[in-house]
């Protein structure tokens, strides 16, 4: 079994301007580890979208990033409201983001589609009233 490096982050739910700090930190760490720059970009984009979703919809949450020789796994877990209709949420352009978020340039209904696009594998486990866990793999 290959060695696994794990990074963990708590994402505060009240500060939209700070969203991205965890993704930025992971990006820098992967860069120092000499991970392929294309893979780093995909991780950064997928993780940032997830981080933004957590702040907008779930009041924050926890992120775990696990790096092995051939894979980067990102697990985003929150105890927010859950997603009532995952299929709808995956549709490009479908959004439930509030107006103040839209005025900042987000909330165009592209978060989950972007996460799917930039990861090799994405799984959503969600329960209304309990929370959502999104697991993404980016192969190296």
């Amino acid at each position: 079994m290959s060695e696994c490096l794990t990074f963990e982050y708590q994402v505060p739910g009240d500060d939209f301007t700070r969203a991205g700090e965890a993704s930025s930190s992971v990006k820098n760490k992967l860069k120092m580890m000499g991970v392929d720059s294309g893979a780093i970009r995909r991780v950064a984009i997928a993780m940032y979208e997830g981080e933004i979703n957590m702040v907008i919809h779930a009041g924050g949450g926890a992120i775990k990033v696990m790096v092995t020789d051939d894979n980067i796994r990102i697990i985003l877990a929150d105890t927010g409201p859950g997603i009532p209709d995952v299929e709808k949420a995956m549709q490009l352009g479908y959004s439930t983001a509030p107006e103040e978020v839209r005025s900042l340039g987000f909330g165009a209904g592209m978060g989950l589609p972007n996460m799917k696009k930039y990861s090799d594998n994405m799984q959503i486990d969600t329960e209304v009233g309990v929370g959502t866990t999104v697991t993404m793999d980016i192969h190296l």
Partner: protein, 109 residues
């Protein structure tokens, strides 16, 4: 190959923060919706937008754009400019409309 340094030296726009000037400018990209930019901004592009906030810088950093050009007089707060400095993102200001700002960069590529 055009680099951010060339944009600085040609004085096309007002330089507000000098980041990594050696970065190559691969393309010009115009977009104000950060969600779209997140998924579509090409690596190394010069990103022209009127959306000047902290999240613009986060997207710029995570998608590895070469520089951000805030058009139509859009501006960042001093705190956001400090963030651009920390993240080494080159930021320009211009009063030009988005299309004309993009055209000015395009003519140098």
């Amino acid at each position: 190959m055009t680099a951010v340094r060339d944009l600085i030296e040609k004085n096309c726009f007002e330089l507000k923060n000098r980041g990594r000037a050696d970065k190559a400018v691969t393309k010009v990209f115009c977009c104000d919706l950060l969600s779209v930019a997140m998924g579509k901004a090409p690596e190394g592009c010069a990103w022209v937008t009127v959306m000047g906030n902290r999240n613009t810088l986060a997207v710029a950093s995570l998608t590895d754009v070469s520089c951000v050009i805030l058009a139509e007089g859009a501006a960042l707060t001093p705190e956001d400019l400090a963030c651009a400095e920390k993240e080494e993102i080159t930021v320009f200001y211009t009063e030009l409309p988005v299309f004309e700002a993009a055209l000015a960069v395009h003519s140098l590529l």
